[in-house]
């Protein structure tokens, strides 16, 4: 049996450091919002092995007043040109000019989002995350309503949320770093991944809490720390296995799936890993420390009463 309560000091340090790094990167680098958040346009061309002059493209765009454009290769034979949002009229003119010079080039994809849509998406994303968190706390408080000793049911909810914050901070921080180093942007898929991580990692936490709940009922005499330790140990296999099946499909998606899902899958993979880790090493130990804190306060109070 592994003594998780004992090793918690180490894992707190590890998690604390990781979350700190994540938050610092987030503050320093910030996240690089993708086009669907900021508004803008992307034109993807299939080159058909034509060597295209980037300066020419820049000039064409400039002609219509689009100053800040970025040109980047996409795939083996593609080119993606990004700029601020473009009206359809100008889009047609730009395409015509490019085609006049490079006849073989084909238009693969064109997107243009006004800034309104982006703002909306951003607001909705934040609302979505807050809503999920609130719903999960409420649900956990409800699900654990029969448990009142030694901890009230809402303690379970709040502890789960603390470990959820840990779980989504780490991938978010990683994307801040990736954004800085590699120019990786976050899009609506990233938000979806975060929300899914919230759902999944609470899944593992529930397995452990559920066992604690049951053990408290069946073994009322046991010390709380012992209940914790036994519960974590007994549920260890299933926590890891349920995540492992998810990791298997995520790895398949990461390795064999389409490139456009790469970062989405990566976010999920990291989130799943830390979600499992935190439900074992963080969530229950936190609950235990909270319990110790409450005990100490209670003893102190009782001591004061005795003194009088």
């Amino acid at each position: 049996m592994i003594d998780f309560i004992k090793v918690r000091k180490i894992t707190y340090w590890i998690s604390g450091a990781l979350v700190l790094i994540a938050w610092i990167s987030l503050i320093i680098f910030g996240l690089k919002p993708g086009m669907d958040f900021t508004g803008g346009s992307a034109l993807e061309l299939k080159l058909n092995n034509v060597n295209i002059d980037h300066q020419f493209i820049t000039d064409v765009y400039k002609q219509f007043g689009y100053q800040n454009i970025s040109i980047a290769p996409s795939g083996d034979d593609g080119l993606t040109i990004r700029s601020t949002d473009i009206t359809e009229e100008n889009h047609q003119k730009i395409i015509t000019q490019i085609k006049e010079k490079y006849n073989e080039v084909e238009e693969m994809r064109f997107e243009s989002f006004g800034p309104v849509i982006g703002r909306e998406l951003r607001n909705k994303s934040i609302q979505g995350i807050i809503l999920v968190v609130i719903c999960i706390v409420l649900y956990l408080s409800y699900a654990f309503r029969q448990v009142s000793r030694p901890m009230a049911s809402w303690h379970y909810g709040v502890t789960a949320i603390l470990s959820l914050i840990h779980d989504i901070s780490i991938p978010t921080g990683l994307f801040a770093i990736l954004g800085h180093v590699h120019g990786v942007e976050i899009d609506s898929n990233f938000i979806v991944a975060l929300l899914v991580i919230l759902g999944f990692s609470v899944h593992d936490t529930i397995i452990v809490f559920d066992r604690i709940r049951e053990k408290l009922r069946t073994h009322p005499g046991l010390d709380f720390g012992q209940v914790m330790n036994e519960s974590i140990n007994e549920t260890l296999r299933r926590s890891i296995f349920t995540s492992l099946t998810l990791v298997l499909v995520l790895l398949a998606l990461l390795i064999f799936g389409p490139a456009s899902l790469f970062y989405f899958t990566l976010t999920l993979l990291i989130g799943t890993f830390f979600g499992t880790y935190s439900s074992i090493f963080i969530a229950s130990p936190l609950l235990y420390d909270w319990y110790l804190f409450l005990q100490k306060r209670k003893n102190k109070k009782q001591g004061e009463i005795k003194k009088r």
Partner: protein, 431 residues
């Protein structure tokens, strides 16, 4: 013995349902009825096509009438798009805060320009009244002074009060003026429109009642007398062809409110096909990996959960096809993810079984005790995922919706297959 044959019967029913669902999900065998061959509904990112988002200007529409105005707008645009033979166009009204949007998805339409034309060509017809002389002068003066506030104000005409727009049009017809032989477009209003038209003509005798199309004046007739029968004529300077086209467009439906394009997307089909193939490959590999994992970890029990997992995959695909769920790339990702989650309930049950065995329960008892005892944590963890899905579905973005929906269907189906199907299989085959 009786109990045993009952269990066997349930298993046979499950297998028959799974086989039918499988044939339906696959759908490409010659002997199958046509209904089975219905294709999956692919999202724009997989089928290729165009997505346009319009914002409707409802400033002239009373609050209470906005929903019906938007529905009218949707119907008109749907008719328009159908006219061009787009297969399964999707036109939906989305309300975001105070603004109303129209989300138009045209699968298979690659040429975004053509798509915009096809929607935009629907003319917005309206009647405008002459402004008082002093107002006109004031606006012209301000425009001369480059006052930005007045830059886009029409100095001569103002939308009629009450508004008379294409919404009230009954039919439009191409006629020729009997004297000049010039083509004219005859308009006939519906009852409500006729009333408004009578009011306007009575109010404006001797003045110009301008006819505007898409914000441009096309005819500036002077009202001679009140017109009560609800008929008007546009005598612009157009050719017979132009007049004919105008009539067609007006009849297909004039837009009840003006719209503005705020977002556009076009996706090539080639890319989508490639992505689809990769996703399917990843899904199959993931499925096999999970099956191997279950077999290695749980041996004989793993066989049953793997069978349940395959049934799960088949059932889900059949449900996607049946509803039909729009399969976008993220939707497929959601489905693949749910394959990894579908065995979770089995793992919880089997782990519980191991524990019950340890404390000395005999095999079969331990197994069904496992089912019973694992239920609370299966329920709680699935509900948390369902909560996430419901929140995600609240997003307007159709891409995210697809993901949420497939994941939600997956979670619900997996509760059925991992628990009911696995239990039935075990009951029938474990002695």
């Amino acid at each position: 013995m009786k109990e045993n044959s009952k269990n066997l019967l349930i298993v046979i029913i499950i297998l028959i349902v799974a086989i039918i669902a499988g044939l339906f999900a696959y759908g490409e065998l010659d002997f199958l009825p046509n209904w089975f061959k219905k294709p999956y509904r692919l999202g724009l990112d997989l089928s290729g096509g165009t997505r346009l988002i319009y914002e409707a200007d409802l400033s002239q529409v009373a609050e209470a009438d906005r929903d019906s105005a938007m529905n009218g707008l949707r119907d008109v645009i749907e008719r328009r798009v159908n006219l061009f033979g787009v297969s399964e166009p999707r036109v939906e009204v989305v309300q975001v805060g105070d603004s109303y949007r129209l989300n138009v998805e045209l699968a298979g339409v690659k040429d975004i320009n053509q798509a915009i034309q096809m929607i935009g060509e629907t003319p917005y017809l309206e009647f405008r009244e002459q402004r008082p002389q002093e107002e006109t002068e004031k606006i012209l003066e301000e425009q001369k002074n480059n006052n930005p506030e007045y830059q886009f104000v029409d100095p001569y005409f103002v939308p009629s009060q009450p508004p008379l727009t294409g919404k009230y049009l009954k039919t439009a017809r191409l006629d020729f003026d009997p004297r000049t032989y010039e083509p004219v477009v005859s308009l006939e209003f519906n009852d409500e429109g006729a009333k408004i038209f009578a009011e306007l003509t009575q109010k404006n005798v001797g003045k110009v009642l301008a006819i505007y199309l898409d914000g441009q004046p096309i005819s500036l007739p002077v009202v001679q007398e009140e017109i009560t029968e609800g008929k008007a004529q546009i005598t612009g300077k157009f050719t017979a062809d132009e007049a004919k086209k105008l009539v067609e467009n007006l009849n297909a439906g004039a837009l009840p409110v003006p719209i503005k394009l705020i977002s556009q997307q076009s996706i090539g089909a080639l890319q989508g096909e490639f992505f689809l193939k990769l996703s399917i490959k990843a899904g199959v590999i993931g499925l096999i990996a999970v099956i191997i994992f279950m077999l290695v970890m749980y041996g004989k029990l793993g066989i049953f959960s793997s069978l349940a997992l395959i049934i799960y995959t088949i059932l889900n695909l059949a449900i996607f096809k049946l509803i039909p769920v729009t399969m976008s790339l993220s939707g497929i990702a959601g489905f693949i993810l749910s394959i990894g989650m579908a065995v979770d309930a089995n793992i919880l049950i089997f782990e519980r079984y191991r524990e019950e065995r340890k404390i000395g329960l005999e095999n079969k008892r331990a197994l069904f005790e496992g089912f019973k005892r694992a239920w609370p944590s299966i329920r709680d963890s699935n509900i948390s995922t369902i909560i996430t899905c419901l929140v995600l579905y609240n997003f307007t973005s159709s891409m995210v919706k697809g993901f949420a929906l497939t994941l939600l269907i997956g979670v619900v189906t997996s509760m059925f297959t991992a628990i009911t199907v696995t239990r039935s299989l075990l009951k029938a085959f474990i002695k």
